[in-house]
């Protein structure tokens, strides 16, 4: 069924992306939503690396560079996101997203 190695990697990445999306959309806790976003970013990186590996010009390093920069940006995003969650927790004393239903602090 799986014809090429690239197909296998792309399917695994799609599965991890879908799991991350499901986590981000169904969980109540804001931290779990951030974790779901991290999983989605990782799945995207896996796609980039897989296409780099099986692409026609791997010596150009384009896909790999994209993945490296993506990892750096995702790390920054995780730090700021978790900082925001902690800050919100101080204000409303909860991380339950269903209870955060007003914009006023």
């Amino acid at each position: 069924m799986i014809a090429t190695p690239l197909t296998g990697y792309l399917l695994v990445a799609a599965l991890i992306f879908a799991i991350g999306l499901a986590g981000a959309l169904t969980r109540r806790n804001a931290i779990l939503v951030l974790i779901g976003i991290e999983l989605m970013l990782n799945a995207a990186n896996l796609n980039l690396i897989a296409f780099w590996r099986y692409g026609p010009h791997p010596e150009m390093l384009t896909g790999m560079m994209f993945a490296i920069f993506s990892i750096a940006v995702a790390a920054a995003e995780a730090a700021v996101g978790l900082g925001l969650v902690i800050s919100i927790y101080r204000h409303v004393k909860t991380t339950d997203l269903d209870q955060m239903n007003e914009m006023k602090g």
Binding site: A3, T4, P5, L6, T7, G8, Y9, L10, L11, V12, L15, I16, F17, A18, I19, L21, A22, G23, L25, T26, R27, R28, N29, I31, L32, I35, L39, N42, N45, L46, I49, W52, R53, Y54, G55, P56, P58, L61, M64, M65, A67, I68, I71, A72, A74, A75, A76, E77, A78, A79, V80, L82, G83, L84, V85, I86, S87, Y89, D96, D98
Partner: protein
């Protein structure tokens, strides 16, 4: 496709599933670390050694610790009485399933046209450094500025609010 690929994929996907499904958030963070490790192994198997080790350093090392800190600081490890899933979880699950169905359909449809097994690219860290300092030097500098800004921003956002002096 070797047995190793299936084992590593099972590690990554199983870790991701456990992350999303487990109730206790500390267990979720541990499962997340396992999933990141599986993805790092997939990178290593794709002959991207540098990215694989960067993944271990950044995700397994730093992001997982950050997540654990956030969980403990917000006391999210205590189980909520109302359940861990949102009221509208069935909609989210349907959206995720639809996204996976479309992606898998596209990948399987494109399967015969995708490139087959090629020779492993010989990429040294030297070459990566040359590329980072040559062709990609502007993005590198922007990422440096971004990381500095994110570091300061995260500290300022999460800092205790000072009592206003009158």
């Amino acid at each position: 496709m070797g047995v190793v690929f299936y084992l590593i994929s099972a590690l990554a996907v199983g870790g991701a599933l456990a992350t999303v499904l487990l109730k206790n958030l500390v267990h979720c963070a541990l499962a997340l670390t396992v999933s990141f490790l599986g993805i790092a192994f997939l990178f290593l198997r794709l002959d991207a050694e540098f990215v694989g080790f960067a993944q271990i350093l950044v995700y397994v090392g730093a992001v997982a610790i950050l997540v654990v800190f956030a969980i403990l600081l917000t006391r999210a490890a205590e189980l909520p009485k109302v359940g861990v899933f949102s009221k509208t979880w069935i909609v989210g699950l349907a959206i995720a399933a639809a996204v996976f169905a479309v992606l898998a359909w596209a990948v399987l449809r494109a399967g015969p046209w995708l490139p087959n097994e090629t020779a492993a690219p010989q990429v040294t860290v030297n070459q990566i450094g040359q590329a980072l300092m040559g062709r990609y030097v502007l993005p590198l500098e922007i990422v440096a500025a971004l990381l500095t800004a994110a570091l300061l921003g995260a500290v300022i956002v999460a800092m205790h609010e000072k009592v206003r002096t009158k």
